[in-house]
């Protein structure tokens, strides 16, 4: 692995690579490095503390207290006993599975395919076309989905009718929702990730690819043995992000709830439930409890990606 990496930046100063660094230089440079390291991250760290760390700690605080008084796990118990909690867990779990699979499989596949296109304009047009839906978000998409999912007016009505649906209400029945949301989320989210993975593929030295081709590797073998391993960090990152996005499912159900005027319930996902707790029931502690549960689950699942993808290693 490290061999190939040094090849990618070869040409800069091959001789310098082999010269062992002097001990004196080493300690001076590391001290200087450390100082500048802090300088470089200072701005971000400030924002991280203000808008990330402190709010997270506050949420933790809220989750274990009620109106300022410590109540242990009461909030969690109350939330788990809510009749809306188990269905919401199921909904989110199903959605995360579908979402993760579709993203990991299709995005990587499409990125590989787009990258393999030799014709320059076709490549950029494809990337643009795949990305366009990602530009539409939230309120803008409400009316779009109101129409696209309604078999009587949809541009894809032929498809919906073929699947046996005759009305909007049937399309958005509770059983179909995980798939519907996956489709919506994929439609809006895939394009951006394809661009990122495409960029990651571009970072792979074409000389390696050429070498593989000369050695007789077909497209699939090249992808499997060369491209994918070099994209590990990027794919892991995508995995983690899609876990986060999946567990935090909020926008799509909210959009559909508005579009169908309530037929899709507004407590479909756990994140929505957290919202309702905070802003409808005035129960910020319960809301924080749900959020902490979501965080814990996402953390545990991401650990898989972090360690298998060696995300924290700097080299």
């Amino acid at each position: 692995m490290s061999e190939t990496r040094s090849i990618t930046t070869a040409g800069a100063a091959p001789r310098a690579l082999r010269r062992p660094p002097a001990r004196l230089h080493h300690s001076k440079t590391t001290k200087r490095q450390a100082r500048f390291g802090y300088v470089f991250v200072s701005g971000y760290t400030l924002l991280l503390i203000a808008f990330g760390l402190l709010p997270t700690l506050y949420a933790l605080f809220l989750a274990f207290t009620r109106n300022g008084a410590f109540v242990g796990v009461d909030n969690f118990v109350r939330v788990f006993n809510d009749y809306r909690f188990p269905p919401a867990v199921l909904h989110v779990a199903l959605y995360v599975i579908y979402w993760l699979i579709s993203l990991l499989v299709f995005v990587v596949l499409l990125a590989l395919v787009v990258h393999a296109i030799r014709v320059r304009w076709a490549s950029s047009v494809s990337r643009f076309v795949f990305y366009i839906p990602g530009a539409i978000a939230g309120a803008s998409s409400v009316m779009l989905w109101l129409f696209v999912l309604d078999p009587t007016v949809s541009p894809v009505s032929a498809l919906l009718n073929a699947m046996g649906y005759e009305s909007l209400v049937q399309v958005v029945s509770l059983d179909n929702l995980p798939i519907v949301f996956t489709i919506i989320a994929f439609w809006t989210g895939a394009g951006g990730w394809i661009v990122i993975q495409y960029g990651a593929l571009n970072n792979i030295d074409p000389e390696i690819m050429e070498a593989a081709r000369i050695d007789g590797a077909g497209a699939v073998k090249t992808a499997w043995h060369i491209q994918l391993p070099m994209m590990t960090k990027w794919i892991s990152y995508m995995g983690i992000m899609s876990l986060a996005a999946g567990t935090q499912l909020f926008v799509e159900p909210r959009v559909l709830s508005q579009a169908t005027r309530g037929v899709v319930p507004d407590d479909y996902s756990l994140n929505q439930l957290a919202y309702l707790y905070a802003f409808r029931q005035g129960d910020f502690s319960g809301s924080a409890a749900i959020s902490i549960v979501l965080l814990a689950v996402a953390l545990v699942l991401s650990a898989v990606f972090i360690f298998r993808g060696r995300l924290f290693e700097s080299d």
């Binding site: 990496r5 990618t8 070869a10 040409g11 800069a12 310098a16 230089h25 440079t29 590391t30 490095q33 450390a34 100082r35 500048f36 390291g37 802090y38 470089f40 991250v41 971000y44 760290t45 924002l47 203000a50 808008f51 990330g52 949420a59 809220l62 499409l110 950029s124 494809s126 076309v129 795949f130 990305y131 530009a135 539409i136 939230g138 309120a139 803008s140 409400v142 009316m143 779009l144 541009p155 439609w187 661009v195 990122i196 990651a200 571009n202 030295d205 074409p206 960090k233 983690i240 986060a244 567990t247 909020f250 905070a278 924080a288 749900i290 959020s291 965080l295 996402a298 924290f312 700097s314």
Partner: protein
């Protein structure tokens, strides 16, 4: 040698054809998937409310109708749509500048500079990215309220500039695309840290700057919840404005007696106009992405 390659080319041709067809089919299939609803959306403003419901989805209405919908959109609340677009521009570009200023150096340092607390920062960033936004909203509101910033553009720009996703992207990019040895070489040649960053790392960073900038801009442009809570009235960005507009569409809100009625095609036009800047920026930054890639990825 020539003989072998000739035979190879001949024997792989049929297979190449099949794979070419498959690939094209795949691309076209997905292209249709992504584009079909957009085409519908593009055509929608040319119809009026009833035509949208009754005519075929891909039938074109009329140009006059586009004009009528345009007028309806811009006369809504005396042209507040323009104000919304202006607000979105201010917030998104303001946050973009701050984000790049803050995130690129941070990602670089996390990837290529030795300092204590590196892993701690990475870990914290990850955790913060995984916690649902709902939980963070109240504390952020309280902080900004204590600083008397609620209702001002800063209350939107500052949180928008916190972009852990971008920092991570930069970190991954720098740790995979740029070698430490390259930097160490420059250091040993006597370059100070700032010079190493500015003259060695930055030129290689164009793709990731374009990427981070783009995603930050789009995320902020499309963000509804944060500006919804922080500002109101004339200061809202276009996403919040669209949601307010939605409240005046009878299909979505029949029970409120409204004298201001917005029809669906007008809403479609508003959607397209609010999306256009994002697409333009995408096209613009795509150039840098591709250019930068070929410049930085291949060497020697």
């Amino acid at each position: 040698m020539t003989d072998r390659s000739q035979t190879r080319r001949r024997s792989t041709t049929p297979r190449q054809w099949v794979s070419k067809i498959l690939i094209t089919a795949l691309l076209v299939g997905f292209a249709v998937f992504f584009v079909l609803p957009i085409v519908w959306l593009l055509i929608a403003p040319s119809k009026d409310g009833r035509q949208l419901l009754l005519d075929s989805p891909f039938s074109f209405g009329s140009f006059e109708q586009i004009g009528a919908n345009w007028n309806a959109l811009f006369s809504f609340q005396d042209g507040v749509f323009t104000t919304w677009l202006g607000n979105s521009t201010l917030y998104s570009f303001g946050a973009l500048a701050l984000t790049l200023l803050v995130s690129i150096p941070a990602g670089y340092a996390l990837a290529l500079v030795e300092f204590r607390g590196r892993k701690l920062l990475l870990m914290t960033t990850l955790i913060v990215m995984l916690i649902p936004n709902t939980a963070l909203v109240l504390p952020i509101f309280l902080e900004l309220s204590a600083l008397r910033l609620i209702g001002t553009p800063l209350s939107v720009i500052l949180p928008f500039s916190f972009f852990p996703f971008g920092v991570y992207l930069t970190y991954i990019y720098f740790s995979t695309a740029v070698s430490r040895d390259l930097l160490n070489a420059a250091r040993m040649d006597g370059a100070g840290e700032l010079r190493v960053f500015a003259q060695v790392a930055m030129p290689l960073a164009t793709p990731v700057i374009a990427l981070v900038g783009f995603f930050n801009f789009v995320g902020n442009w499309n963000n509804y919840f944060l500006p919804f809570l922080m500002v109101g009235g004339q200061k809202v960005p276009v996403q919040v404005g669209l949601a307010n507009m939605l409240a005046n569409v009878p299909q979505f809100n029949p029970t409120t007696a409204t004298s201001t009625v917005i029809e669906l095609p007008t809403l479609a036009l508003a959607t397209l106009l609010s999306v256009a800047p994002v697409l333009i920026i995408f096209l613009f930054s795509q150039r840098f992405l591709v250019e930068g890639m070929t410049a930085g990825g291949t060497k020697g």
